[in-house]
Amino acid sequence: MSGIAGLDSGEILRLIREQQVSALEVVRECLARVDTMDGRIHAVLRLNPRAEDEARSQDRDIHASRAGPLAGIPVAVKDNLLTDGLETTCASRILSGFVPTRDATAVARLKAAGAVVICKTNLDEFAMGSSTENSAFGPTRNPWDLERVPGGSSGGSAAAVAAGFAPMALGSDTGGSVRQPAAFCGVVGLKPTYGRVSRSGLVAFGSSLDQIGPITATVADAARALAAMAGPDLLDSTSSPAPVDDYIGSLDGGVKGMRIGLPREYFGEGIDSEIAGAVRHAAERLEGEGARVEEVSLPHTRYAIPTYYLIATAEASSNLARYDGVRFGMRLDPRGRLGEMYRATRGAGFGAEVKRRILLGTYALSAGYRDAFYGKAQRVRALLRRDFEIVFDSGVDVLLCPTTPTTAFRVGAKIDDPLAMYLSDICTATPSLAGVPAISVPIGLSSSHLPIAAQLIGGDFSEALLLRTAAVLERLFGRLIPPAPEGAAPGPGRRT
């Protein structure tokens, strides 16, 4: 990579501060990179036509010494986050043409800190999927190998960061949708504690699970993004009043004396042995940095995916009832009757995976089945959370495990087998159900030159500790930069 593209936000902020480059030049270079590269990747659904004006405004603030901590930093935003005046579709036909009249709180806070939204990124429709193949507007490709998926559902955001379109992007994570694509694309992805970041303006999927999280080039970028977004919000009653830690200031704390647990259930059946080996090697390296590593158990882990797919679909079936052709989005009205309008609009507007989940969720909540499915899943959810509480109460600070059971799979490999696709979330769904924070950080390349990632999981509101631990892994293993795509033959990626 050359110039601005590929730099992390710290490096860009320094160049702007030293007046080597203006915010406008930064944004223009990122937009130019999208223009030349995104035809092959399709990470971007639409550009922000006001991005250059907003960058000029940041330059004025910088010259007047009233700039925010992210002044001039380009940000890519997943297209299920509301952006004032900029179409927001959730990659669904049913919302095409929908132009929000306000920003999501997380977006508003990044903008208030000086960040410039440059584009909206592709996703699995309504964030339902693990490959970004479920987009109504076509799949996103992985910058490491265009024949492979970028993961999902925030695949557009992860691919955009990996391709150097922006150092920072926003995703949303319901069962792994920030961490899994970050892992597949070789970038950093943080799912904060449930309630750490306001969900106001995030289009709801599974409301007890959804969290907005940064997908970034480096761990420090994730710390900067979270610092700008975290904290209570009057518009989201589930946002937490817990104090916001100094994420940036604690990045260099190291892991000396830290107790790191390896949950044995995350290294066994279903997990690629090369990934398990790489994560165990990362544990040894952390031991070399002064951490104490021990094996622990989260005994109910195998129940996480069935629990997740009952709770998430039940909540989705309820949340998606609002798409009825009345207040926003598309309407099909074949015969001028209300009930038929609902059915026709939803039948034509939703894609296959969304319909599948609405059906499953409706079934799990329907008379006669609610206790057996949804009620049971809620009870198991409490067991899954207790697994984490027991481990963290025993003095373990952080858990270390794989983010994904495999590296990025091929486009089309799982699209006709929903259950196989759901199992992509096997390492990420459990922290979502428990509400605890987790971060994915790259730790190297597989034998087929695809990114491998480690996941760090902590107790409630331990984001500072996770970022600090992830920073050590990043120092030990380096950033991953995909091979140059411009007409070049696929080659091994490199570390910086």
Partner: protein
């Protein structure tokens, strides 16, 4: 699906969800949902009966009960497929 006629069951659920399905898609949804439900039956191994758990149960802070500005009628209607006289307009409700 526990019902002996999964495609019929899918049609029933689709009606509950106000979701029109292609007739040819229903059998595929039925077999996929049957496979998923077979898999979630894994939970039946657990007899545990702990309280239900969400991630945010201890506290749900409420803001002060004071009026704050909300969306104007004009902005609320800005994305409506059909609006008239300051309202969302829908097809006939009675006599369906």
């Amino acid at each position: 699906m526990p019902n002996s006629d999964p495609p019929h069951e899918v049609a029933r659920i689709a009606r509950l969800a106000h979701l029109e399905l292609d007739p040819e898609a229903a059998p595929r949804f039925a077999s996929q949902l049957s496979a998923i439900l077979d898999y979630v039956a894994l939970l039946d191994e657990l007899v545990a009966d702990p309280p239900m758990g969400g991630p945010c149960e201890p506290r749900l802070p409420l803001r002060a009960d004071e009026p704050i500005p909300s969306l104007s009628r004009e902005r609320s209607l800005a994305n409506a497929p059909d609006a008239a006289g300051g309202h969302f307009r829908v097809p006939r409700v009675l006599g369906e």
